[in-house]
C-alpha cells in the first residue's frame, strides 16, 4: 500500500438499530383470541404511555438479528485463541439436549418428585466434578466463575468465624484475574498481592513473609495466569495452612490438568470450576456460565443451599435446605441448570479417558504453537514449559518498530483470526496470551502462526497496515474515549 493512500474499508455495510426499522402499526406478535372477559387495570396502577419498543414484522426481525450475527465472530466462525478463556468447540449435541422440554420446560419450584431426572443429573455431575478436582462435595449453584469465587470466599469466612478467628486478608498473586481481588473485597477481606519470581512462579519466600495470622487464605490458579505450573505448589499450600489459612483454587485453567493431577491433592481446600471454559458450555457472547464450587470435607457444612441429596434406601433425589451452617443462597433458584446439562454431557461423553486426552491435547497444542512464535514476539517466560496456554510479549517488536500488541491483534483480525488476549496479565508488558485449546488442528495452529509472522514482518515493511487495521470488519477501530466521554447508552 502506498504511504498516505486512503484506507479502503472492505467490510460489509453496517446495520442500523432495530428501532430504525420500526413503523407504527407493524407487528410480529400473535396471540390466541381472549376466551375470558377483559378486566380493567385500576387507573391508579395503569401505564399511560406505551413503552418505545420497536414495531417490526417477523421477517424484518429475522433479517436484523441475522445480520447482527454475521457481524459477530465465534468459535464456530474460526480460531479463537483468547487466553484464559478456553474457547474450545461447543458440542451441538449439548445444545440439542438442553433444549428438550424435559429440561427446558421444567419449573424450578416443581416438587422434587416431578424433577427426579434433573436432580439425578445434578447429583451425578456434582460427584464427577468432585472426582475431577479431588473435593468432597460441591455446589452447582453459582451462575458464573466470579459468583463461584465469592461463594468460596464466603465459605472461607464462615469457616474462620466458626473457629472463632478474626482474619482480614486474602493473598492473591499479582498476575491474578481482576475478579479475584474484587471477590475478595466482596467477601469482606482485604486483597494482598503476592509477587512472582523471575521464572513466573509464586515467590514462595515473599509468600512466607506475607503469611501471618491475619491471613484468611490464598487464591491461586494452577497452572497460573502465566500458563505455568506452580512447581512448589505443595510448599505454597503448606505455608498458608500453617497460619490457619485456606487455599482457594481458581479453576480458570483446569483444562490443563484434567486427569493429570487434582487441586485436592495439591492441598487446595476450595475449588471453583468454569464450566464454560473447561467443560465446553458455550460462552454465549459473555454468559451464561456456571461456576460450581467444590470443598474439602470439613468445609461441607458451609456449602450453599439448596443442595441435591439422595436417599440411599429409596434412591430418590431431593433439594435439601436443612443445613444450619450454610452460607445461604447464591442464586434465586438452583443455578444455571441449562448450562449444567451441557456440562454433564461433556463430562460423561469424554469419560475418564477422554478428559485426560483433553488435557494432553490442549497442552500439546499450546506448546506446539509456542514453538512457532516469531522471534519478535517471544515467550515472556522462556524457561518455563507452558501448559495449556502461554504468555508472549511484543516488547521486542515494539522496541524495534513501535508496533504494539494491540496493532498485531487488529492486523490478525484482517488476516481472518480472533486475536489472543492482549494486555493481560498486567504484569507482562505488551502481553499476548494465547490458548489454542485441544479442538484445533495442527494446520490451524500453523496457519495462525504464519499470519502472526506475516503481521510481524509487516511491522517493519508496511507498518501502516497494522496501524490502520482492521479494515475488513463492519467497523474499524472504535473511539473508546468518545464512548466514555459522550455517554450514549441507549437509543
Amino acid at each position: 500500500m502506498d504511504v498516505g493512500a486512503p484506507v479502503r474499508r472492505q467490510g460489509p455495510p453496517g446495520e442500523g438499530t432495530i428501532a430504525e426499522r420500526s413503523r407504527p402499526g407493524r407487528q410480529a406478535f400473535s396471540f390466541a383470541a381472549l376466551d375470558v372477559d377483559l378486566v380493567e387495570i385500576p387507573a391508579a396502577f395503569a401505564r399511560n404511555t406505551p413503552p418505545g419498543l420497536p414495531e417490526v414484522g417477523e421477517s424484518d426481525l429475522v433479517r436484523h438479528y441475522t445480520r447482527l450475527s454475521q457481524m459477530n465472530y465465534g468459535v464456530d466462525t474460526g480460531f479463537y485463541p483468547l487466553g484464559s478463556c478456553s474457547m474450545k468447540y461447543n458440542p451441538k449435541s449439548a445444545e440439542a439436549a438442553a433444549a428438550w422440554p424435559g429440561f427446558a420446560r421444567v419449573h424450578p419450584l416443581q416438587p422434587d418428585a416431578t424433577a427426579q431426572g434433573v436432580l439425578e443429573l445434578l447429583w451425578r455431575l456434582e460427584r464427577a466434578l468432585c472426582e475431577i478436582t479431588g473435593m468432597a462435595r460441591a455446589t452447582l449453584q453459582p451462575p458464573a466463575g466470579a459468583s463461584g469465587e465469592l461463594t468460596g470466599l464466603l465459605i472461607m469466612r464462615a469457616h474462620h468465624e466458626a473457629q472463632g478467628r478474626q482474619r482480614t486478608k486474602v493473598l492473591i498473586p499479582n498476575a491474578a484475574h481482576g475478579t479475584n481481588p474484587a471477590s475478595v473485597r466482596l467477601g469482606g477481606y482485604q486483597a494482598v498481592s503476592v509477587p512472582a519470581d523471575e521464572r513466573g512462579q509464586v515467590d514462595v519466600e515473599a509468600l512466607r513473609s506475607l503469611a501471618d495470622d491475619e491471613v484468611a487464605g490464598l487464591m491461586l490458579t494452577n497452572p497460573n495466569t502465566l500458563g505455568l505450573f506452580e512447581e512448589r505448589i505443595e510448599e505454597i499450600t503448606s505455608v498458608v495452612h500453617e497460619v490457619g489459612g485456606l487455599v482457594y483454587y481458581d479453576g480458570a485453567n483446569l483444562n490443563a490438568i484434567l486427569g493429570k493431577c487434582r487441586p485436592g491433592d495439591m492441598g487446595f481446600d476450595i475449588v471453583h470450576i468454569n464450566t464454560h471454559k473447561t467443560f465446553a458450555t458455550p460462552h454465549g457472547g459473555g454468559g451464561p456460565g456456571a461456576g460450581p464450587v467444590g470443598v474439602v470435607e470439613h468445609l461441607v457444612p458451609f456449602l450453599p443451599v439448596p443442595r441435591v441429596e439422595r436417599d440411599e434406601t429409596t434412591a430418590a433425589y431431593r433439594l435439601d435446605v436443612d443445613a444450619p451452617s450454610t452460607i445461604g443462597r447464591m442464586h434465586g433458584f438452583h443455578g444455571n441448570i441449562g448450562v449444567l446439562v451441557r456440562a454433564y454431557l461433556y463430562v460423561f461423553l469424554h469419560g475418564a479417558d477422554g478428559l485426560e486426552e483433553v488435557a494432553e491435547r490442549a497442552v500439546l497444542n499450546a506448546n506446539y504453537l509456542a514453538t512457532l512464535l516469531p522471534g519478535e514476539t517471544p515467550l515472556a517466560f522462556p524457561d518455563g514449559r507452558p501448559m495449556h496456554e502461554f504468555v508472549a510479549t511484543a516488547t521486542p517488536l515494539e522496541k524495534e518498530t513501535g508496533i504494539r500488541a494491540m496493532d498485531l491483534a487488529k492486523r490478525l483480525i484482517d488476516l481472518g483470526y480472533h486475536p489472543s488476549t492482549v494486555y493481560f496479565p498486567l504484569v507482562v508488558d505488551e502481553a499476548m496470551m494465547m490458548e489454542p485449546t485441544e479442538t484445533e488442528t495442527k494446520e490451524t495452529l500453523e496457519a495462525f502462526a504464519a499470519a502472526l509472522a506475516q503481521a510481524v514482518a509487516e511491522a517493519a515493511s508496511d507498518p501502516e497496515l497494522l496501524h490502520e487495521a482492521p479494515v475488513t470488519t463492519p467497523v474499524r477501530r472504535l473511539d473508546e474515549a468518545k464512548a466514555a466521554r459522550h455517554l450514549k447508552l441507549r437509543w
Binding site: Q27, L53, M71, G102, P282, F333, I413
Partner: protein, 440 residues
C-alpha cells in the same frame, strides 16, 4: 467421542517440533508427589448416541410444562416463547463468541446489547441499564451495593418481597458487612419502613411476592424523605399495562428477566435486569455498552465506563461480575422486538383477564379464600386453601395440572397461582376442577 482432531502423525510431528519424546513429558513439571497415579474414577467415554440416550432417560424423569399445565410462578413463568427467539439467539455466531474484548469482531453482540439496554430503559421508564446480570435475586444484591455509601449502610426490605431474593441478599450481605432488615408486610402488602439517616435503600416489590399491586410511589416518598433510595423489584411483562418504575419514583429497578423469551430451565440460565438514573451510572455494576464511532466516522459499539469494573479497579470494584447472561439478554431483546408496544399491552391484558377468571373461579370453591382480601393483582395471586397447599398441589399433579407454588411461611395453606397468556379457559377450568377435587 472426542473433539480433539489430532491424528497419530500429528501428535508425533508436534512432539518432535516441541522437542519432547512423549505427551507425558509435557507434564514433567508437575511434581510427582501431586500427580494422579490412576485414572479418574469416572466411566470411560461414550459415543454421542449413548450419551444422548442417557440424557433422554434423565429428561424423561421430569414432568414438564408441555404435559403438566403450569400455573406455577413465584419468579419463573410459563410465558410463550415464540420460535423466532431461539432461531436467532441460537445462531452459533452469537452463542460461541465471548465477551466482546475485540469490538470490531463483536459488533453483532455489542449492538444487540445496546438495543437490550435501550429496550429495558423504554420498558422501565428509567434512564440507564446494563448488559444484564445473573438473575433477579442477584440483581437486587447489586442494587443494594449501588445504594450503600458512607454512613448509609442499612437496607430495609419489605416482608412482601420474594423470600428467595431476601435470602440471596442475606448471603451476599455477610461479606459486604450488612444484613438486610425485613420490615413486616401488613396484610400481604408492603408495610411501613422507618427510614433513618443510616438507611441506604428501601426495597419493595410490585407486583409483590403475593401478586399484590403495591403503592410504590408512597414507598418512594418515605424513602426519599429519609434520604434513601427506593429499589423496586418489578415484573417486566407487567409493564405493558402497569405504570413503569420510572414513573413511580424508583431510583433503581431490578427484575428477573426469565419471562422475556427465556425457557423455565429448572431455574436457570435466566437473566437479571437493572435500570437506574443517569446520576448513578458510575455506580452501575457489570458490562455497559456505549455507542461511539470508528476512525472513519461510522457508528459502532464498545464496552464503556470500564473504569468501574473488576478488571480495571480490581479490589476497589464494587461488583465482581464479569461473565453475565448475554445470550439470555439477546433472547430478551428479540422477544421484546417481537412483542412491540402493542404486543406487550395485549399480553398484559390477557394475563390480567385470565388471572382474574382463575381467581374468581377458585375463590368460588367452598373453603377457598383470597389470602390477601380485596387486593388488586396482575397475573399472580395467592389463595388460602382449607388443606395444606403442598398436598393439594400434589393431588392436582396427578390430574395433569401444576396448580401453583405453596406460599412460604404462614400455616402452609397458602398457594400462589400464576396465570400467563399461554393458559386458555379450558386449562383454567381444569385447574379449578383439580383443586376442587383435592380439597373435597
Amino acid at each position: 467421542m472426542r473433539f480433539a482432531p489430532h491424528t497419530d502423525d500429528d501428535v508425533r510431528e508436534m512432539l518432535a517440533g516441541i522437542g519432547v519424546p512423549s505427551l507425558a513429558a509435557l507434564f514433567d513439571q508437575i511434581p510427582a508427589s501431586v500427580r494422579l497415579d490412576r485414572a479418574l474414577d469416572l466411566p470411560r467415554g461414550v459415543s454421542e448416541m449413548e450419551i444422548m440416550a442417557d440424557l433422554r432417560r434423565l429428561a424423561a424423569g421430569n414432568r414438564h410444562a408441555d404435559e403438566l399445565v403450569c400455573f406455577a410462578g413465584a419468579g419463573a413463568y410459563d410465558h410463550y416463547v415464540p420460535s423466532v427467539v431461539w432461531a436467532l439467539a441460537g445462531r452459533s455466531e452469537f452463542y460461541t463468541s465471548y465477551t466482546p474484548y475485540q469490538p470490531e469482531l463483536s459488533q453483532g453482540a455489542l449492538q444487540a446489547l445496546f438495543e437490550f439496554q435501550s429496550m429495558v430503559c423504554e420498558l422501565t421508564g428509567m434512564e440507564v441499564s446494563n448488559a444484564s446480570l445473573y438473575d433477579g435475586a442477584t440483581s437486587l444484591v447489586e442494587a443494594a451495593s449501588m445504594s450503600r455509601a458512607g454512613t448509609r449502610g442499612r437496607v430495609l426490605v419489605s416482608g412482601a418481597v420474594d423470600p428467595r431474593f431476601v435470602e440471596t441478599l442475606e448471603t451476599h450481605g455477610k461479606g459486604a458487612g450488612y444484613a438486610p432488615e425485613v420490615f413486616a408486610a401488613v396484610g400481604g402488602r408492603g408495610g411501613s419502613p422507618e427510614v433513618g439517616e443510616d438507611v441506604a435503600a428501601v426495597v419493595v416489590q410490585h407486583p409483590n411476592y403475593y401478586g399484590v399491586l403495591e403503592d410504590v410511589s408512597a414507598f418512594a416518598e418515605v424513602a426519599h424523605e429519609g434520604g434513601a433510595k427506593l429499589i423496586q423489584v418489578f415484573d417486566p411483562l407487567s409493564l405493558g399495562v402497569l405504570a413503569p418504575p420510572g414513573d413511580l419514583g424508583a431510583d433503581i429497578a431490578v427484575a428477573e428477566g426469565q419471562s422475556l423469551g427465556n425457557h423455565l430451565n429448572y431455574g436457570g440460565p435466566y437473566l437479571g435486569l437493572i435500570a437506574a438514573r443517569m446520576a448513578d451510572v458510575r455506580r452501575m455494576p457489570g458490562r455497559i455498552v456505549g455507542e461511539t464511532s470508528d476512525v472513519d466516522g461510522r457508528t459502532g459499539y464498545v464496552l464503556t465506563l470500564q473504569a468501574r469494573e473488576q478488571h480495571i479497579r480490581r479490589e476497589k470494584a464494587t461488583s465482581n461480575i464479569c461473565t453475565n447472561q448475554t445470550l439470555m439478554a439477546l433472547a430478551a431483546t428479540i422477544y421484546l422486538a417481537w412483542l412491540g408496544p402493542e404486543g406487550l399491552a395485549e399480553l398484559g391484558r390477557q394475563c390480567a383477564a385470565k388471572a382474574r377468571y382463575a381467581f374468581e373461579r377458585l375463590t368460588a370453591l367452598p373453603g377457598v379464600e383470597p389470602l390477601v382480601p380485596d387486593a388488586p393483582f396482575f397475573k399472580e395471586f395467592a389463595i388460602r386453601l382449607p388443606r395444606q397447599a403442598a398436598g393439594v398441589r400434589d393431588a392436582a399433579i396427578d390430574r395433569g395440572v401444576l396448580a401453583g407454588v405453596p406460599v412460604r411461611g404462614g400455616d402452609g395453606h397458602g398457594l400462589l397461582v400464576a396465570v400467563t397468556e399461554r393458559r386458555d379457559r379450558g386449562e383454567i377450568d381444569a385447574l379449578v376442577d383439580a383443586v376442587g377435587e383435592a380439597i373435597a
